[in-house]
Amino acid sequence: MVTLNVNGKQLQADVDADTPILWVLRDTLGMTGTKFGCGMALCGACTVHLDGAPIRSCMTPVSAAEGRKITTIESMSASRVGKAVQAAWVKHDVPQCGYCQSGQIMSAAALLASNAKPTDRDIDAAMSGNVCRCGTYNQIRAAIKDAAATLSA
């Protein structure tokens, strides 16, 4: 049994300590907004925040999250940055198939939380771990810049 803080709530899960956070979220807690893409931290679809920093939940064991705060796509609208990022994603109609977008938004929100005015190079560095098979990268870039402008206004 592990005790987790997910989106501000204390939750208990009866899982082995080596279970990746991704599968605790999805299978045990029923929070399916965080996606499974590769299982090897190669695509970023599973990105969540651990104490505010972006991590790949498919490779991070749940034991690493005890006593720390997990934030997922389901609570993005609760933070100022998350809300701005989601609004920019809607404004730019970013998603196509949409499957990678939870992870993209989590990476973008983490970037903007630590860097209010990211350059193109900053965006490349922060977002190149997130694959989009539909190729929405230019729209993601535009949405990040838009969210940055909103947040600094």
């Binding site: 907004g33 499974f36 109609d93 949409g98 997130n130």
Partner: protein, 708 residues
């Protein structure tokens, strides 16, 4: 070769141009299920008393925007208030047949093409019924009424919203041939309206196949044969069964499945299985062997796909020959293949991101020995499709596992399972020969294509009597240039790997082949590749139109920064025309960098220009990923790639600037999910040729070959 498709033998791809009116079989039956608070004139839309319009779409949303484009068609003729329009995924039913396929399925860039007429008629019929209802209510003639933004308006100024007319409209006869608008009257078609599926895709609430959860459900992970066609001869599951949460181990034709409480336990259990495999006939399969087999086949005469004039008698003053090759490719949808099945006493229910609801209904009825009507298909959002989700391997296996376990089962492929489940874009080799006359004009053109047959692999098509697989030669056979002597041949070669439809199908490799060879001809003729093409497209106005627009917008012929070079290519696929100009540099390590791609598109009348542009850009990224990195290779029968480290994807830092321009056209609307892809690779490699003097004739591009 896998045989899992045998029950599906049903020729459903009737590409005879069949266009059915909106009153498809079943449409009326589904309509009658309406509750009194709704007006439901047919299977495709409902109007609520609250003025909300629900458009019911039988097509799968996999990113291509069909859940927005189809509602736009309906809403236009309905004169709906777009802000009150929502979309709903349809069940599997005759009413939702794809008019081009003759069965409910999404693919081949057919959705807008096939539904342009039927869905507009569905909206127009509803509009006429609402007008009749209002006229009756007001006791005026219908001709005195018009509609706007979800309301009927009388010439006196009286106005009733559609919601107020639901009861009266439900009593009106359904018009058989409702009047459609002239394109000049369009208010919704042609507009950059926002996608209806965006909100759920930015807050995590959208439900994909993988997100399905049922009470008592088990999750299955499958140990697949390590070699295509292999069989498990002995299975020791003792260690797997010791894994906490593992409930059952079941052997099925596709492999050995471990069923557990969740994915992680099932995967751990799967990884703990000890299986002896009989590798079967493909144990010696290698990519070198595939290349050899295909290349040698192009040295022999094949089945004739096209023959004009006499290539033998016109060799020309200058002759060229070249051999091109493309590898097997995986689709690598971001959402790995998965399906949830529940075989119950009274039938089968399945939840999946599938492109083939209709075929699945038939196939799964055989798997479960039930009537097709007892198979319910719930279409979830698709985390990418690209043709892969047309295949029923995952729905079949999930159904078998549910039947055998007695539980609802969600079968999940790991990324590696997904990449190694075969269903690849065929490897292909094409040998070209051509002759130019003294002025540099091509007088003869021969192409010999050798590749596996998708038609035969599909399970629902057969090679036609002429022995030519149309998917294998599309993009070479229809080379559009004015060349008097032209011959295209096809040789079916089967190295033993299941092949499948992959975004833009045969065009994905064949346009690379043919357009690259045309670029070689231009170079041999000493002509500019844009002008050379242009001079040979006199009888092809739509090809010429996009070629000229792309060249103009790209600034063809104008100076570029030091080290950056342009390449151009043009293609027609699925009825849509696309030309692309790529700007590329190559660094000292031979690595190409694509800076900018300019595309021009002619897809007839356009439903949503922004979605057309985004789809074109998406296909450019897909094509660029394949050109730079894409290859599935075999060694000792095993696939050498497994995840995104060995099968890389284009990433943010490599993304070129993309501009897409649309040709104004009154031609019939055609699809854009695929047609942006084919021209990309030849445009990029033509630019690389200009940058390095080296001709890429084999994909993916090998930086070693381009080193300075």
């Amino acid at each position: 070769m896998r045989t899992a498709f045998k029950p599906s033998r049903r020729n459903f791809l009737k590409t005879s141009g069949l266009v059915i009116g909106f009153a498809l079989p079943g449409a009326q039956r589904l309509a009658e299920a309406a509750t009194p608070a709704e007006f439901k004139p047919n299977a495709y839309l409902r109007v609520g008393a609250d003025d909300r319009v629900t458009v019911v779409v039988g097509l799968s949303e996999m990113g291509q925007g069909v859940h927005t484009a189809i509602p736009q068609l309906v809403a236009e003729e309905l004169d709906a208030d777009w802000t009150r329009v929502r979309v709903e995924q349809a069940p599997v039913d005759e009413a939702y047949k794809n008019p081009i396929f003759g069965i409910q399925a999404t693919g081949g860039s057919t959705s807008v093409n096939g539904n342009w007429g039927p869905m507009r008629k569905a909206g127009a019929a509803a509009r006429e019924m609402l007008v009749a209802a209002a006229a009756q209510t007001w006791k005026v003639d219908a001709s005195e009424c018009r509609t706007e933004k979800g309301a009927v308006v009388h010439k006196s100024g009286k106005k009733l919203s559609y919601g107020k007319l639901v009861a009266a409209a439900s009593k009106q006869p359904v018009p058989k041939e409702p009047k459609l608008k002239d394109a000049s009257e369009f208010k919704i078609i042609g507009q950059n309206l926002r996608r209806l599926d965006t909100p759920q895709k930015v807050n995590g609430s959208g439900k994909y196949g993988l997100d399905v959860r049922l009470p008592g459900m088990l999750t299955a992970v499958l140990a697949q044969p390590p070699v295509p066609g292999g069989k498990a001869v002995s299975v020791d599951d003792s260690k797997a069964k010791q894994v906490k949460g593992v409930r059952q181990v079941i052997q099925i034709p596709q492999g050995v499945a471990v069923l557990a409480d969740g994915y992680w336990q099932a995967k751990k259990g799967r990884d703990a299985l000890q299986i002896q495999w009989d590798k079967g006939a493909n144990a010696g399969l290698s990519s070198e062997g595939v290349t050899k087999m295909l290349t040698e086949a192009t040295q022999q005469e094949g089945k004739v796909a096209r023959n004009e004039g006499s290539v033998g008698s016109a060799s020309g003053a200058k002759t060229l020959e070249a051999v091109y090759e493309a590898p097997y490719l995986a689709h690598a949808c971001m959402e790995p293949m998965n399906a949830t099945a529940w075989v119950k006493k009274d039938g089968i229910e399945i939840w999946a991101g599938t492109q083939s609801q209709g075929p699945n209904q038939g196939i799964l009825s055989h798997v479960g020995s039930v009537d097709p009507k007892q198979v319910k298909v719930n279409t979830m959002l698709l985390g990418g499709g690209f043709g892969r989700r047309f295949a029923p391997d995952f729905t079949i296996a999930a159904t078998v596992l549910s039947k055998m376990s007695g539980k609802p089962v969600k079968l999940v492929y790991s990324r590696e399972d997904d990449m190694r489940a075969y269903f690849y874009r065929p490897a292909s080799v094409t040998r070209f020969a051509a002759g130019l006359d003294e002025s540099g004009k091509p007088v003869s053109f021969t192409a010999r294509v050798a590749s596996p047959s998708i038609m035969e692999a599909s399970g629902f098509m057969k090679l036609p009597p002429d022995g030519v697989d149309s998917f294998a030669v599309e993009g070479v056979k229809d080379v559009p240039y004015d060349i008097p002597n032209l011959r295209v041949e096809y040789s079916r070669q089967e190295p033993g790997v299941q092949v499948w439809f992959w975004r833009s199908v045969g065009h994905s490799q064949n346009i690379f082949f043919s357009e690259s060879f045309i670029d070689e001809l231009a170079n041999a003729a000493g002509k500019d590749p844009f002008e050379f093409r242009r001079s040979l497209l006199g009888k092809q106005p739509r090809y010429k139109g996009v070629l000229e627009l792309a060249a103009e917008r790209a600034g063809w012929g104008k100076p570029l920064p030091q080290g950056v070079h342009r390449g151009i290519a043009v293609a027609q696929s699925f009825g849509s025309y696309v030309a692309e100009v790529a700007e590329v540099s190559v660094d000292k390590d031979g690595r190409p960098k694509v800076h900018r791609v300019v595309a021009a598109v002619d897809c007839g009348e356009v439903v949503n220009p922004e979605i057309v542009k985004r789809q074109c850009e998406s296909a450019i990224v897909f094509g660029l990923t394949a050109a730079l990195y894409g290859k599935i290779t075999f060694k000792d029968g095993q696939v050498e790639q497994g995840n995104f480290d060995t099968y890389p994807m284009l990433r943010m830092s490599e993304m070129p600037k993309v501009e897409v321009y649309i040709v104004k056209s009154k031609e019939h609307a055609t699809g854009m999910g695929e047609p942006g892809l084919p021209a990309l690779a030849p445009a990029v490699t033509a630019a690389i040729y200009r940058a390095t003097g080296k001709r890429i004739r084999k994909l993916p591009i090998d930086p070693e070959a381009l080193k300075a």
